[in-house]
Structures are given as C-alpha cells and as structure tokens.
C-alpha cells in the first residue's frame, strides 16, 4: 500500500511526532545526582554503605565485600564491634527502623572469611618504606591501605599479637578471636611485615635505622586512668584494661576476681569488664556509675546486653572508699545542669574486687625528643592529613583527639595512609584529606557529592513496609557462663532482607520509576544493567518534574535551565 494513496493530512505516519522536540518547553531540567547517603556520611571509616548495600541487596556479596574493603579491611570485626553511627543516621529510622547495616556488614565479613575472599591486589611497588607503630585498628588500617598503594610497610607492636584493643580490649564474646585473626591474616597476606613484641621507645632512631620514609604512630590509649580512690591496703583494685588484656594471656590463666565484683565507670569498657567478670564466675557483677542511664556513655545495646546477663547498675553512685571486700559509696543527685552532686548519703557495697573503668590514656613517651610534635590533653595534634608537626610523622587512633572507637581508628588509618602516600609522592594536598577520585564507586556516573540526603527528599511511598530484622542473640543463661559470641549473625535470607531495606538515599537504585512515570517518554533506559542505567532525553523532556518527585531515593533533582 503506497502512502501516496492515503488521505492527505488526516492520515499520518505512526510515531512521526518524534520530529516535535518538546524539550524546548522546559524551564527546569531534571538531572541525576549521586549524593552521600546519611549512613556513609556518618561512617567514621568512610565506608560507602549505600553502595555496598546496593551490591549486597543483589546478592552480590563478594562485590559488596570488595566495596567495603576499599575503605575498611575489617568488615567482620566492624560488623561486631562498631557502634554503627550509620544506623543512627539512617533515614529509614523515620519510616520504621534503621536498616541493620552493621549486621549485614558482619554477614559480608563472615562470608568473606568463610569464602577465603582475598584483599585487593596491591599497586606496583613504590620503593617507599613506611613504619607503622602500633598494630591496633588504625595502625592496621593504615598498613593495609599503604600496602595497597604499593608501599613497603612494617608494623611494630609491643604486644605479642596484633590487633591492639581489638584483641586486648574487646572480649571474645563480642569479637571471637578467629574472626580477628582471619581479617588480620588478609593484611599479612599483602606483604605487610609484622614485628611484634617489640616496643618502640625512640621513633626517630627507629625510622633512621630502618630507613623508613614515613612513620605512622598508632600506639592507642593503653593505660587505664587511675582514679584516686582512698583504699585500704587489702583492697583489690585493678583497672579494666588490665583485666581485659589478661584475658588474652593464656599462660597466666584467667584472672581471679572473687565472688562479688564492682566495676566503676559508665563506658563500654565498664560493660565489657562487668560482663567478663560475670563470665569468670562472679555471682554479683555490679556497675557503679555517677549519673543516670540516659547520660551513660556506654552504647545502649551494650548496657542492654549487660542487664540481660544479670549485671546490676547502681545509678547516681560514686565510690568514696575501697576496703577489703567492701566499698563505701555515696548517693549522688543531678543538679540543674545535669552534673552529679554529692548528697552526703553513704552506703556500703560488698565487693571482692573493684575494677576501674574510668578512662584510658596514651603513653606518649616514645615521642620525647621528636621535634615539632605538639601535644594537648595527653594526645597528639595532627592536621587533616593526620600528620603531626614533624614532617613525615603521622599519627592516628586513640592517640589523637577523636572519639575512641575501633571504627574511628580504622578511618584514621585510611586517611593517614592516603596522607602519607601524597606526602611521599609530593602530590598536592586535598581539602578534605580524602584521596582524589577515590569516591567514585562504580566508575559510572558522577561521583557522589558531599551533600547529605534529608528524609524529606525521599519518596517513601515506594518503599515496602518492612521493620528491621532483629539479630538473634545467644540464650542469656549460656551467655553468662561462656565466652561464646553473644550476638549471632544473620543468615543469608535475613541479611538479604535487611540489605533490601536500604532506601538508597540520594543514589539511583534502578527501580525504573523515572523511566516509568515520564509522560513524555523522555527517560532513556540504558542496557548497562548496573547501577546507573538512565539518561534524560532532553530533546523531549518538558521539565514536568514527575521523575524527580517520584524518585524513591532522591537521586534526581531539578535544575533551572540557563536562559
């Protein structure tokens, strides 16, 4: 049938309106963006949580693991001991409950161990040598990243085994040692030299002797603060760090604490000490804390688990005097500013051992005589690259001014590694201390912008109603008698469920909504299949904004057209 025969004008060729470029109607244009999800923004280790969840929710666990490993070599450890500020920041809190990021991370870490998944391959050898002093989380993190960057790394630590506070400060029931060892082994496999049981007392001479081009100090805060409590000579007082450290000394055998143990302090170490005491056979394990529960620094989950295990807490109480078998305590009350004030009411508390968990300090003696290093409040001042005032000497972890957690330390290690790398290469500094271009995750689409995604930016209608999966816990009876791990992991289906609860804030999750809802068919779906498969066809986009409004995760925004 010839088209010439068709009636003029009233009969048309199909699809011929593609000649009419309605894009000229537009005053605003939608653009795809990649924003920093609140979880990643809150992660001390700079993990791009949204991105690794993206892989995890596809069941691509190894890919997810590798995404974590770009930032953090310890997913199995962090999946257990991190206090997950990511979950606090998670936008899903405002919908139902935060995504169980931490549990998914642990699942991935455990999968990696079970599967023997290796670290990424290091870059070509740079010929540079870096000394890392301290085999704790920041030192190991730095060593890992430095090794990946191609530098020769030597780690020295006074302790007989690597791990720092991860081994000597965190009880086994929170972090099984085979998990720790497995993740440490991956770092050793990168060729990092471990020189353990070797105390470093003079940084400069060790650097010169070993011809190290740079040094990263990560000696931690290993000294327990000795609160000045008047004590009788027979009183048994130990500090919590010593107790926890002694738990790792197999030769010495378990410490003897007695039937009744009091722990003084309100931080996580206090919880660890009390729970350890309970496991060592104490009938009564009592925490004495000056303030109220809502002011307690310990993480809520730690306290909750402790309470479940039968630990008692004496709130608003201070210890005035320690004697053999008993403590004199004073009731406190909070003043109008929330500070505890003595009431003059005294009491007695039976305690065979008093464990002090009232803070930790850094031993900075090894820095004596090192020029340019400034100290303040017992810690070392560093710049945003974590370099001290002495050229080529960097520091991180508990010995610099920061929150003292494993994850913060891991973040320091990574940041310092990149700072050292730039310093070694003479590369220009970056404003944030983050390596340039490192934020690109998939290599497709624009790099995430350091803009966080408020909840209001999301269109939560599209997310299925799904409350968080609660991680199973070991039965309380068994918990108080063994050092078996208390919090159990997710199985694959629950981990997948949890990963899929992620709302992918500010990052396309490939739900096809923009493609589906465009009344002008102006969203092109690309067949890349991966993370970022859409483009706006600006020839036809009229700028209605439906794609932006209906994007569940806020990965699109309207920008005014330049006139």
């Amino acid at each position: 049938m010839s088209s010439l025969e068709k009636p003029f004008a009233i009969t048309l060729e199909v699809g011929s309106s593609r000649a009419n470029h309605t894009g000229s109607w537009r005053t605003e244009r939608p653009e795809y963006v990649r924003l920093t999800a609140p979880c990643g923004g809150a992660c001390p280790a700079s993990e791009d949580v949204q991105q690794w969840l993206y892989h995890a929710e596809e069941g691509a666990y190894e890919q997810a693991f590798r995404k974590i490993m770009e930032r953090n070599p310890f997913p199995a450890i962090c999946g257990r001991v991190c206090y997950h500020p990511c979950e606090t920041a998670c936008n899903r809190v405002q919908l139902d409950e935060a995504v169980g990021i931490n549990s998914v991370e642990r699942f991935l870490g455990d999968q990696a161990i079970a599967g023997g998944w290796s670290s990424p391959a290091p870059a070509a050898a740079s010929g540079r040598r870096v000394l890392v002093i301290g085999a704790g989380p920041s030192g190991l993190s730095a060593a890992y990243h430095l090794a990946l960057l191609g530098h020769a790394v030597t780690v020295r630590d006074a302790a007989p085994a690597a791990g720092g506070m991860m081994r000597y400060g965190i009880p086994k029931y929170r972090l099984p040692r085979e998990v720790l060892d497995a993740e440490l082994a991956r770092i050793a496999a990168l060729g990092v030299q471990f020189q353990l049981g070797r105390n470093v007392s003079d940084v400069i001479s060790e650097q010169l002797e070993g011809r190290f081009d740079a040094v990263f100090l990560a000696v931690g805060a290993r000294l327990g603060s000795r609160t000045n409590i008047p004590a009788g000579s027979a009183a048994k007082i130990i500090d919590a760090l010593s107790l926890l450290r002694d738990m790792e000394d197999d030769a010495a055998g378990p410490p003897l604490l007695g039937r009744r143990v009091a722990v003084y302090g309100g931080g996580n170490t206090a919880m660890d000490a009390a729970r350890t005491a309970k496991r060592l056979g104490a009938e009564d394990a009592v925490i004495v804390y000056r303030r109220t529960r809502d002011r307690m620094p310990a993480h809520e989950s730690e306290l909750e688990e402790a309470l479940q295990e039968g630990i008692q807490v004496h709130w608003l109480t201070t210890i005035k005097q320690a004697d053999a078998g008993r403590l004199t305590v004073e009731r406190m009350e909070l003043d109008e500013h929330g500070f505890p004030q003595p009431t003059g009411q005294f009491d007695e508390l039976q305690a065979d051992t008093l464990v002090l968990a009232t803070g930790q300090q850094t031993d900075l003696s090894l820095l004596e005589g090192v020029s340019g290093i400034e100290q303040e409040d017992g810690v070392v001042k560093v710049d945003h690259n974590l370099m001290t005032g002495h050229d080529g000497i960097f520091a991180g972890g508990d010995m610099v001014p920061a929150e003292r957690t494993v994850t913060v330390a891991i973040g320091h290690g990574r940041r310092a590694a990149h700072g050292i790398d730039r310093w070694l290469r003479g590369a220009p500094d970056t404003a944030t201390g983050e390596p340039e271009g490192s934020a690109s995750h998939t290599g497709v689409g624009p790099a995430p912008q350091p803009v966080e995604v408020p909840f209001e930016r999301l269109n939560t209608w599209y997310y299925s109603d799904a409350p968080k999966t609660v991680r199973e816990q070991l039965d309380a009876v068994r918990r108080s008698s063994t050092f078996d791990e208390v919090v159990l992991g997710l199985d694959e289906s629950t981990a997948l469920f949890e990963a899929r609860r992620c709302m992918s804030c500010g990052n396309c999750l490939a739900c096809d909504n923009c493609y589906g809802v465009c009344p002008d068919n102006a969203v092109i779906k690309l067949s890349r299949g991966g993370a970022y498969a859409y483009e706006i066809d600006y020839d036809f986009c009229k700028g209605c904004g439906l794609c932006v409004q209906e994007c569940p995760c806020g990965a699109l925004e309207m920008q005014p057209e330049l006139i």
Partner: protein, 344 residues
C-alpha cells in the same frame, strides 16, 4: 489477588520496576522494550496524567496481545495532543472519529475483524470522561449490552479539560470548573450530581469492569492484562490527574492520584458480570483534606475561610466508599506477603 510469601524487595511492587525482580515479573513500563504506544513529541501539558495513563494502558494491552491491537479514540485532549497534523504520536493502528462515538467505532472494528475471521487482533476504545461518561455514553452502553469484544478505557480527569475545564458528569462535588465556579453558598460543582460510570458499566453485567489510577502502575497493568485475557465487552476506568484542571504542580500528578486512593475518594476495584470481585485496600489511610488541599480546584474549601461543613461532606463521601467497597481491611496488613514473585 492472592498473596504469595516471597522475598522482600526494597520498593516491592510499588515502583515501576526493580532491578532485583525477575524480568518476567517487572512491569511493562519498566521494560526497555515496552511498546511506547504513544511516543515522544506529543503536545500534552507538562505532567499530563492522561498521556501517562494512555501509555500505561496501551503498552500493557500491546504486551498482552503481542502488539496485535487497534485503538479507537474519542475526541479530547488525548486525541488533540497526540495527532496534530503532520505528526502522530501513536505507534499502533489508531483511529479518531468523533467525540461521542469511540465505543461504536470500536464495535465496528471488532465486527470487521470478526467478519474477516481475524480472531487474533484485539480492539481498545478510549476516551476522556467527557467522551465516555457524557457524550459517548449511549454508544458505550450499546457496546456493553451487545457484549462486543472491545476493551473501553476511560481516562477520567473529571472535567472537560480539552475545552478549558468545564464540568462533566464525572466532576466531583465542590470542584471548581469554569462552569461550576467557586462562588455562592455551595461553591464549585453541585452536590448530588454526577455518576459512577464504572458502576453503571458493572450493571450491564459485562465480563469485566475495573477502576485504576495512574498512581498504581502494576495494578493498572494487571487489570489491562486481565481484561485482554477476556472476550466480550470490558471497561477500565482510570483516574488520571490534570495539572491544568486540578490546579496541581506538574510534578504532583502521581502524588495526587495516590491521595485520591489513600483517602477513599477514588475506590479501586474490579468486577465481573455485575458483581464487585476485588478491591485494592487503602495502604495508609489519609483524611480527604490532604487530597483537597493539594489542588487549587478545591481551594475555596479552605480560603478565604475554611468550609468545614463542605470538607466533612467530602469526607463523608470518602467514608462511604470505604464502607461500601471495604477499602480498609480489618486484618493486619502483611507487607512482605504482598510482593511480586521473583528476584535473586
């Protein structure tokens, strides 16, 4: 719909697609290979709900028929914005005849196909609420009572938008249109008028009647697919938003349609042979105020002073829908159980 307990997905069945879902379980609209029965370059307003609804419905019908489909269109926005000489946005055989006769033209197409022994090609008639509920109603009713093998789809935006927002038989009470202006004691469209075309369709005892909205893509597609699996007269009444006539931002077209459902203003249901057979439950019930305030056509209910009595009358209408169709399930909603099958 029966619920199957399956793996949970981020956006479940609410978003158009989901990279995690098996390809066969994804919506037609999410597919790169969708027909785009109405394609780019059409001249609909920004954010046009009808353009969207038509593509949703016809693409679903195209998939259901393997592209073996003919459409007849009533006069109205959809026709005007899609076929101004010299350009057509349609990619399937399509005919526009008149405002009031789309159902009869569809009947003619179906009769011709039957006469030719063509049992594979299917027919869809479509029009706006004016062309369906009002001027085209006699032809529609005739098509229904003869049980002609036609699926008729009404894209209901509740007024004559093509001619500049005049009242139709589908205009809800209190809505401003240019012929029911926001003046007088009871501003906007009169109370006690208007009709439910889908319920009238149901009364013809035809094999399939359904309502749907552009806000629930999968539901709409499922209904079109079901309709295409049936022979005889079928009717789907799709609520489509009109940014111009409703006074909504162009980006709100789906949100407002969603609100119509979640408030109970627009009941979403399915019926067959005279009975309602299924309803789509309200997911998160909202007061009608949320719906009304989103649209300037109801602005006079709030400004210059709140008209509580009128708002309550609208609420009462929604409440009646909820009771009448059982839009809220007393049984606790199990979100995980209601998601489509598939996934890794």
């Amino acid at each position: 719909m029966t619920a199957t307990r399956l793996k949970y997905f981020q956006t479940g069945s609410f978003a158009a697609g989901n990279r995690l879902v098996n390809p066969e379980s994804r919506s037609v609209q999410s597919g790169a290979e969708r027909a785009n029965a109405i394609t780019c370059g059409h001249r609909a307003c920004q954010g046009c709900g009808e353009a969207l609804g038509a593509r949703y419905a016809l693409d679903a019908a195209m998939r259901a028929t393997g592209g073996d489909l003919i459409a007849a269109n009533a006069t109205g926005c959809l026709e005007v914005f899609s076929t101004p000489y010299p350009e057509s946005s349609w990619q399937l055989p399509w005919i526009h005849s008149l405002f009031g006769n789309a159902a009869a033209v569809s009947t003619g197409i179906a009769a011709a196909l039957r006469a030719k022994g063509n049992t594979h090609t299917r027919v869809v008639g479509q029009g706006g609420d004016g062309g369906t509920v009002d001027i085209g109603f006699a032809c529609l009713s005739g098509m229904f009572e003869r049980d002609d093998d036609v699926l008729f789809i009404c894209y209901d935006n509740e007024a004559y938008m093509n001619t500049g927002v005049q009242r139709s038989g589908a205009t809800p009470p209190a809505a401003f249109t240019t012929t029911t202006q926001a003046v007088g004691e009871e501003p906007g469209a009169p109370w006690g008028q208007g009709k439910s075309a889908p319920l009238i369709a149901l009364a013809h005892e035809i094999p399939y009647v359904a309502t749907a909205t552009i806000a629930d893509l999968r539901d709409l597609e499922a209904k079109v697919q079901r309709a295409m699996s049936i022979r005889g007269a079928r009717y789907i009444h799709v609520l489509v938003t009109c940014p111009l006539g409703w006074g909504t931002p162009s980006s709100d077209s789906l949100r407002v349609a969603r609100l119509a459902v979640e408030t109970g203003i627009f009941p979403v249901w399915e019926g067959a042979y005279g009975d309602v057979t299924a309803v789509t439950k309200i997911r998160h019930r909202l007061p009608v105020e949320d719906y009304l305030q989103a649209q300037t056509r109801f602005r006079h209910l709030f400004k210059p002073r709140r008209r509580d009595a009128l708002i309550e009358r609208v609420q009462a209408r929604a409440d009646r829908n909820i009771r009448r169709f059982g839009l809220i399930d007393p049984v606790e909603y199990d979100p995980v159980a209601l998601h489509v099958e598939g996934g890794s």
